[in-house]
């Protein structure tokens, strides 16, 4: 039967996530069950602590204020506008609303029955992912593992939400799987597996896979004495097997493996377990597929004979970044790959330069990457930030040694510039005599920065304290790091100064239409994602790592270590790490799209999902800044 009204609702919903992720048939079904409500300006939709409604809401017209009373004081948490979702709590957990919602102007809402969504969540991992993100934007600790566990309990498909793979690349699988029949003894099967150096064997009957034995079965069923090795394989095999058609993509394979909690997928003729086996896909295969391209590039770098080749390879790496982002490969993986490539390029540039000089270095030295390169978070071609440290030498030797390294640094930075890393405008480079010094001199430098924290010195320490060894002697690098920690330990007030600077940039509240909603209620229309979102997270991770003497630079790794160091703040740090991943991905894709460094985001160009994604990152920033404020007593520090 024709249903004009629900068709119109369908037309509206399909423009907005997560409804755009649902099949038309399902969405039409949803559209037929929608409830429509009208609210006057300031009318309450639900109050804080109200019992959950049977619907969650999408704003069709108007806007909605979300607020929360804390100690009788009303705090506006957000203003949602057309297409925004709210009231998701009952969908996630059966608890009363933790915030109130009222109409900000006259408003029409579509109420989406929660009952309908339980199945949808099961069938569409991307929908649950989106709903979690939306929900998280208004909860205290977005993206924390704690919530994730609770969300839509029993849905294994969404457990690994962070690694949402949409890789369209088809997965390479083994087309000659090793098989045996069901009456084979376990011992014989193990001999076949050992001979073929594989960790699984598929049991087939007339070419049709009926079960699988993996190393784990041998461990848990034979090793424990539950079965004898003379038993037949069909007694211990896992049956039925998880099957998939031949054109499996990496993304699908990942999802299947996560969903079924298996390590092997049987590829069959038509994808069911009723047709012939044509291959086997293991978790290992997936890892190889992903690692394939970068390892090739690294090899090429190693074989490169000149700077031109390096430049060419770096361009290919940019393409790789682009591809990865399009395929929604986890950002952590992407940064690792790109950092490895950048490191390899720098190493090669140093080697080429040494041979150009025609003289090996007179003493041991380390080439250090600073800033984002030092943190291994550089995805786009940005400026070079580097420095050099050489062994302590006698005053008599000093000039000769320094001259050698200055010449080397000159050549290396020149090569890096040719490859595509622009010279640092602030001249923070090893070719600057100030930053090409001996270990002793570095130690003095650090001490000066730490004991006399004036603004410009703090800014330098922010750049330099994220140094990372790229090439050369590890002991020198370690000694430098130790001197930083030791000096800070003696001058803990330095962390308070660092904290003060770190807090200079509070995150915005969220977005409302084309504007940023600032804490003080003001609006702005362009967003400096680097200073307002990424840097605060980087800064926070740095100061907390310095506090714990953690010798790591990468922001994600820092948060991961902090999770271990402070289990009581696990959720906070995890949400920071996740927010950071999202922001970095965002900045990189914006940068690639606009061919710039991705620093500024034009809010008008963002779609609903992007805005939500960005917004969800602001909460952790705010929370971690609060933590720093308290811990380092930054309020006692005078304006720097």
């Amino acid at each position: 039967m024709k249903n004009t009204i629900s068709e119109r609702i369908f037309d509206f919903l399909k423009n907005y996530p997560p409804f755009n992720l649902i099949s038309n048939a399902t969405l039409l079904e949803v559209s037929q069950k929608v409830e429509i409500q009208y609210f006057e300006k300031d009318q309450i939709i639900f109050s804080q602590n109200d019992n959950p409604h049977e619907h969650f809401y999408i704003i069709y017209q108007g806007s909605v204020r979300l607020y929360r009373f804390v100690e009788n004081e009303k705090h506006i948490l957000d203003i949602c506008d057309e297409g925004d979702l709210f009231g998701l709590r009952p969908l996630i957990m059966n608890e009363n609303y933790v915030m109130g919602a009222s109409a900000n102007e006259e408003t029409i809402l579509y109420g989406i029955p929660i009952v309908l969504f339980h199945d949808i969540i099961l069938n569409y991992p991307k929908v649950s992912q989106f709903l979690i993100a939306s929900f998280a934007t208004n909860t205290r600790d977005p993206f924390s593992e704690k919530h994730k566990g609770k969300l839509f309990a029993n849905v294994s498909a969404i457990q690994k939400i962070d690694n949402s793979f949409a890789e369209i690349q088809s997965a390479n699988y083994n087309r000659k799987p090793i098989t045996c029949s069901s009456d084979t003894s376990i011992q014989t099967a193990c001999i076949i597996m050992t001979k073929n150096i594989i960790n699984s064997i598929i049991i087939i009957e007339n070419d049709i896979p009926i079960g699988i034995i993996t190393d784990k079965d041998i461990r848990t069923k034979i090793g424990t004495g539950l079965y004898k090795i003379t038993s037949n394989v069909n007694e211990i095999m896992t049956s039925p097997v998880v099957t998939f058609p031949q054109n499996i993509s990496v993304a699908e394979a990942q999802i299947m493996i996560l969903k079924h909690k298996v390590s092997h997928l049987c590829i069959t003729k038509d994808g069911t377990n009723k047709t012939a086996l044509v291959g086997i896909l293991t978790q290992q295969d997936l890892i190889l597929t992903q690692g394939n391209n970068p390892s090739l590039l690294i090899k090429e770098i190693k074989n490169a004979k000149d700077t031109e080749t390096l430049k060419h390879i770096r361009t290919k790496a940019s393409e790789l970044t682009k591809g990865y982002l399009e395929q929604e490969i986890p950002i952590y993986f992407v940064t690792k790959v790109i950092s490895e490539i950048n490191t390899a390029i720098t190493k090669k540039a140093i080697r080429l330069s040494v041979s150009e000089i025609g003289k090996e270095p007179p003493v041991k030295f380390s080439w250090l990457a600073l800033g984002s390169q030092g943190r291994k978070e550089q995805l786009l071609m940005t400026d070079q930030d580097n420095a050099l440290v050489f062994e302590n030498v006698t005053p008599a030797e000093y000039n000769g040694v320094k001259n050698y390294f200055m010449e080397l640094a000159e050549k290396v930075t020149e090569k890096l510039n040719m490859v595509g890393f622009d010279y640092c405008p602030a001249n923070i480079m090893a070719s600057n005599p100030k930053w090409c010094i001996s270990l002793e001199e570095w130690e003095q430098q650090f001490e000066e920065w730490i004991t006399d924290p004036i603004a410009e010195k703090i800014l330098l320490s922010i750049i330099f304290f994220d140094f990372e060894l790229v090439s050369g002697d590890e002991t020198l690098y370690n000694k430098m790091a130790e001197s930083v920690f030791k000096t800070i330990e003696k001058n803990l007030i330095f962390l308070s100064f660092l904290g003060k600077i770190t807090l200079d940039n509070p995150p915005p509240l969220g977005f409302f239409k084309q504007f940023l909603v600032e804490q003080d209620g003001e609006n702005k229309d362009s967003f400096d994602i680097k200073s307002r979102a990424i840097r605060p997270l980087v800064d926070a991770a740095r100061i907390l790592s310095l506090h714990h003497n953690l010798k790591i630079n990468n922001t994600i790794e820092r948060y991961e270590k902090l999770m271990e160091a402070e289990p009581q703040n696990r959720d906070l740090f995890e949400s920071c790490a996740n927010a950071f991943k999202i922001l970095l991905q965002f900045r990189t894709s914006q940068g690639l799209a606009n061919n710039d460094n991705g620093k500024f985001v034009d809010i008008n160009s963002l779609n609903k999902a992007d805005r939500l994604k960005l917004k969800s990152c602001f909460k952790p920033i705010k929370n971690v800044q609060e933590a720093i404020k308290l811990r380092f007593k930054t309020s006692q520090i005078p304006q720097i």
């Binding site: 039967m1 024709k2 004009t4 009204i5 119109r8 929608v34 409500q37 009208y38 609210f39 006057e40």
Partner: protein, 220 residues
């Protein structure tokens, strides 16, 4: 006697309907089921013209319930080419069409004892009653509300008389599917909610207020 005799000859759906209409109904806006409906017709002549389609949607507890919707198209013996351009319903379109008898049966079963709401109710009710009469059935028994009249209850609107398009503009209602029965019913439903909400703001609104004709005091 005659009426009893007649009643006994009525089809079951009508008897069910009559029974429902006799039930005591809650006298509160919150707990009343409203059915907002619209008809598209071949013209404005109640005797000669025919209903082409009926669209309707239910409102309960101040909420439009899309699941409680109704949309039918009726087979035509008569056909007026000149109105096609308004309603867009062709004599032999792709839509599934019901006979007038079946359409009335479905509509009666759907509305039950709900309060019927339409913009300029009189015409739509008259068209339905004419169709019922052709089936030898009595008139509709439901209470009715005209959004056009309801609008006049708002402060300062007593003398106003507006068509749906003008009211859509005033109340900021998007005019999707205007001139389809279901589309107009939906628009009218939004209009109904908005007017009620405004009336509530102006005064302590009671269920009975919805039915009292505005400006009566002035006339008497």
């Amino acid at each position: 006697m005659i009426s009893w005799f007649k009643y006994n000859n009525y089809p079951i759906f009508w008897k069910e309907y009559s029974k429902k209409c006799k039930q005591k109904q809650p006298k509160s806006i919150e707990n009343t089921r409203f059915v907002v409906f619209d008809t598209e017709t071949t013209g404005l002549d109640i005797a000669d013209d025919r209903i082409l389609s009926i669209g309707a949607i239910g409102i309960f507890k101040n909420t439009i319930d899309v699941a409680d919707g109704f949309e039918i198209y009726i087979k035509q013996n008569q056909f007026k080419a000149e109105t096609v351009e308004i309603h867009g319903i062709l004599k032999e379109g792709k839509l599934t069409k019901l006979s007038e008898a079946k359409a009335m049966e479905n509509f009666i079963a759907y509305i039950g004892n709900a309060v019927l709401v339409a913009h300029h109710t009189a015409f739509d009710i008259a068209m339905i009653n004419a169709a019922l009469k052709r089936l030898n059935l009595p008139k509709l028994k439901n209470k009715t509300i005209d959004t056009g009249i309801l609008y006049k209850k708002l402060e300062g609107k007593k003398e106003s008389h507006f068509n749906l398009d003008v009211l859509c503009k005033e109340f900021n209602i998007p005019k999707h599917d205007r001139h389809t029965a279901a589309g107009d019913a939906f628009i009218t439903a939004l209009l109904f909610l908005k007017i009620i909400s405004k009336l509530r703001k102006e005064r302590n609104l009671h269920y009975s207020d919805l039915f009292r004709v505005s400006g009566k005091e002035g006339l008497l």
